[in-house]
Each structure stands twice: as C-alpha cells, then as structure tokens.
C-alpha cells in the first residue's frame, strides 16, 4: 500500500509536453489532478491512469503514473481489468465527452452497476477537438459545426443525469473557473470508496463557443455548497443536474452516504473464501477424472 512520505503536485507531473492548444482548459484539469493526487499522497507507481482517444485523453502521459492511452471510448473496460487484476492500485480513467458519452457510452452504465472503485473524469467541452471541431454528444441542439453546417438536430446528452440515473455513488462537476474547487472535488472523488464521476467543463479555446470559455462559464457558475445543496439527496441532485448546459453547478451533486460494496471488494472476498483449501492449479485436470 501507499508509502507515508509526502508528495507534492510536481511529483505527478511528467516531462512530456502537452500537445494541447495554449489556453486549453485541460491544462488546468491536469493541474487539478496533480494537486488532488498530492493531497492523497499515493506514490505515482501505485496509480494506473487510463484514457481513450481525444485531446483530453492525452492526459495520462502528462502524469508520472502508469499511463494507458488506449483506443477510442474504451478507457473504462481497460480500467476495470486493471482494478480486478490489482485492486490495490489507485485507478483513474479520463477522457472527453465524445470518448465517454458517444463511442464509449455503453460502458458507463455497466461500470456504475458494478461500482468498482474507479474515478472517472470527463473533460466535457461539447466538441470534437482532435478531429477539428465536429458535433459532440454534449453539443447543444442547433449548434453549427463542420458536421452540422445547418445546426445540429439532436438534443445533447446530459452527463450528470446519465450517471445519476444509473445509480453512481459519487457525482460531481468542476471547472477551471474554480481550480481550488476542482482539485478538492477530484480529491473527494478519488477518496470515495466506489465508482466516482467528475464532469469537468473544460473549455476548448480553438473550437469552443464564446459562452463556453472561462468568462462565459464564470457567468453561469454556482457553487452547490453555497446553494445549500445536500449531497446526500439524490433526487435533489437529479433536479439540479437538469440544468446542465444552462447553469454550471460546481461541487458534489451526490455522494452516497452509505457507499455500496465495490465489485473489486466483493471479488476479494470471494477469492479469500474460495481459495481456502483449493487444490493447487497444477492439479486442475483432476476435475476431469471420471471414476
């Protein structure tokens, strides 16, 4: 398990230079992650950080953790394999809104119902940046992009309601408008014993709309604590989450006051129970003996 020595944010920063556009919100997200990890204090080599494909999915490489920049939309299955293979690891997954809610959208529900102790950070910028500005699953209806010349015809996915509806135990939102809050939220998500989801409104400086830049976000942001929201109240959280896109609520929407057992924890229990008095694996063929 973790060493007791103290870590600083810079201990989690790698030598790789980000390819992100200057001014990209993801610069602040990676900073928030460094800070959250420093506060938690797990040594980098005990952290596995998985992502898919997209601008934001480059993020594991910018940390000193074991990183896995995998294929589009598949960070969560890979993260789950890692967690089951070694539950001692701190497992983080991250990616963009397209990676998480479009191509990889089918995986979230299942990770939530398994409740593995994995923290999933989505850098939501309502656009496909890496491929140059196409419509994303969280793009607002009517938005014009290079693949929606006359305006999109679809409603956006609401990431917050989506994960709340599937029963995630920890759901929060953050943004670079409040870095301190972002770092604290990520830290809290990681500390939550079970699946935790943080949606981060991370502006795209190159393809993002004016209203979704920092200034615009600041104008619509409201702190959930300041609003007096009780994070133990799931229905209230769902009510607030309906304002996704109009308001930017920052902080914890929902934290299950009685966290459910995790899949990885249950697996350990099962292993402990069944491995007692198990015949050695070398004798596995004995199972086929017919007497």
């Amino acid at each position: 398990m973790s060493a007791t020595c103290e870590y600083q944010a810079k201990d989690y920063k790698s030598d790789l230079k980000p390819i992100w556009c200057p001014g990209c919100g993801d610069f602040s997200v990676v900073q928030g992650i460094y800070r959250a990890l420093a506060a938690i204090g797990r040594p980098p080599h005990e952290i596995a950080f998985v992502s898919g494909i997209g601008c934001s999915s480059r993020i594991p490489g910018y940390t000193t953790a074991y990183g896995f920049n995998s294929v589009h939309g598949r960070s969560l299955p890979i993260a789950q394999g890692i967690k089951l293979a070694n539950p001692d690891l701190l497992v983080l997954a991250a990616g963009g809104d397209g990676d998480g809610f479009s191509i990889g959208g089918g995986h979230i529900a299942h990770l939530i119902r398994r409740n593995m102790d994995i923290t999933y950070i989505v850098m939501d910028n309502q656009i496909y940046g890496l491929t140059k500005g196409q419509l994303s699953p969280t793009s607002q209806k009517g938005r014009t992009t290079c693949t929606s010349r006359y305006g999109s015809l679809e409603e956006p996915v609401n990431p917050l309601l989506y994960v709340l509806a599937y029963g995630a135990g920890f759901v929060a939102q953050a943004s670079p408008t409040d870095l301190a809050g972002m770092a604290a939220t990520i830290e809290e998500a990681i500390r939550y014993p079970g699946f935790a989801f943080v949606n981060i409104q991370s502006p795209c400086v190159t393809y993002g709309e004016e209203a979704q830049q920092i200034k615009g976000l600041k104008a619509i942001s409201e702190n959930l604590t300041a609003l007096g929201h009780n994070p133990a109240d799931r229905l209230a959280a769902m009510d607030l989450a309906q304002h996704y896109g109009q308001k930017l609520h920052l902080g914890v929407f929902y934290r299950n006051p009685e966290p459910a057992p995790t899949y990885d924890g249950l697996v350990r229990e099962r292993q402990a129970l069944l491995s007692k008095d198990a015949p050695p694996a070398e004798n596995i063929l004995d199972l086929f003996i017919k007497k």
């Binding site: 600083q8 810079k10 230079k17 992100w20 919100g25 610069f27 409040d178 770092a183």
Partner: protein, 174 residues
C-alpha cells in the same frame, strides 16, 4: 485567483514569507509551462518572454526564501501550495496559440495586477505588524513590476490590429 484555508488574522511572519515563496513558485511554474507551450507551438518570441518572467519569479522567490531561512531557519512550514491558486501565476486560459510579444506581456501584466489585488485585499484582515509590512512591501513590488511591464509594452511597435487567425493555418486534425 483563489485561496483555501488561509487564516489571515493568525498569519505569522514565517507563514507569510512561506506563502509569498509559494506564490512566486506557482507563478514561476506557470510561466515555464507557458514558455513550453509557446515553444511547442512555434511561438519563440512569446516563449522567450515567458522564460524571462519565470526567471524573475524565481529570483524573487529565492530572495524571499533567503529571508525566511535567515529569520526562521529550517522551522517547518505551516502553509502549502494547496492553499493558493493562481495568485501571481497567469490564468491557464491566458495563453493562446501564436501569441505576439504584446499579448504575452499583456497576460503577464494582468497577473501582476491580479497579485496586487490579492495583497490589497488581504491587508485589512492581517493582525501581525510584521506580516502587514511584508504584504505592503509585496503589494508595492507588484506596482513596480506592473510599471516595468507597462514600460516594456510601450517600447513595442504598435499592434497591427489584424487577427492571427487570418494568417495562420487551420488546426491540424489528429
């Protein structure tokens, strides 16, 4: 610009010096990041300027750290980096691709103004006279820095007023 868990009323001179060092450290790192971003995006003039700013911040930081150690030796720190966010460091979104030196300087100027505002805002809450004096000194230094950067800005040829976006290539799809 935010802080977390700083109790100004009970801030000691040691804590205040440590805080000042951390503020400089944060700014230095941000300028280095910006310089790296500019290098990454082939904008060498802005990179050079940001490196210069990083060196300045480092120098101030070292001076403050020297004062701290001469006054308090190796006494443990009571403040951490987690308490401060973007005090003197330019905001993350202050950088842009293809920044001109003028834009880079403006970003730096904004952060000096921001730092000045921080010290001004903190002053009324301070109780310790030594801390008060330090914050006033730091506040005034920011004024000095602001003047320096403004002077440098004035030396630059006037801005063309044209947008970079009219000249540069479109972003490359990955």
């Amino acid at each position: 610009m935010t802080t977390r868990g700083i109790d100004y009323a009970s801030l000691s001179l040691k804590d205040a010096l440590d805080l000042a060092v951390l503020i400089e450290e944060e700014a230095q790192e941000r300028y280095e990041d910006f310089a790296a971003q500019m290098e990454q995006h082939r904008t060498p003039e802005a990179a050079t300027f940001f490196r210069l700013m990083a060196q300045n911040e480092a120098k101030h930081g070292e001076e403050l750290a020297a004062r701290r150690s001469s006054l308090f030796g190796a006494e443990p720190k009571a403040v951490t980096r987690e308490m401060i966010y973007d005090i003197e460091a330019p905001d993350f979104d202050a950088a842009r691709a293809f920044m001109t030196p003028r834009q880079a300087m403006k970003a730096a100027l904004a952060s000096e103004v921001k730092a000045h505002a921080f010290f001004v805002a903190a002053l009324p809450a301070l109780k310790d006279a030594g801390v008060k004096a330090l914050f006033e000194e730091l506040r005034d230094e920011e004024v000095h820095h602001t003047n320096l950067v403004t002077a440098e800005l004035a030396k630059l040829p006037p801005d063309s007023g044209l947008s970079d976006e009219d000249f540069v290539d479109e972003p490359a799809a990955q």
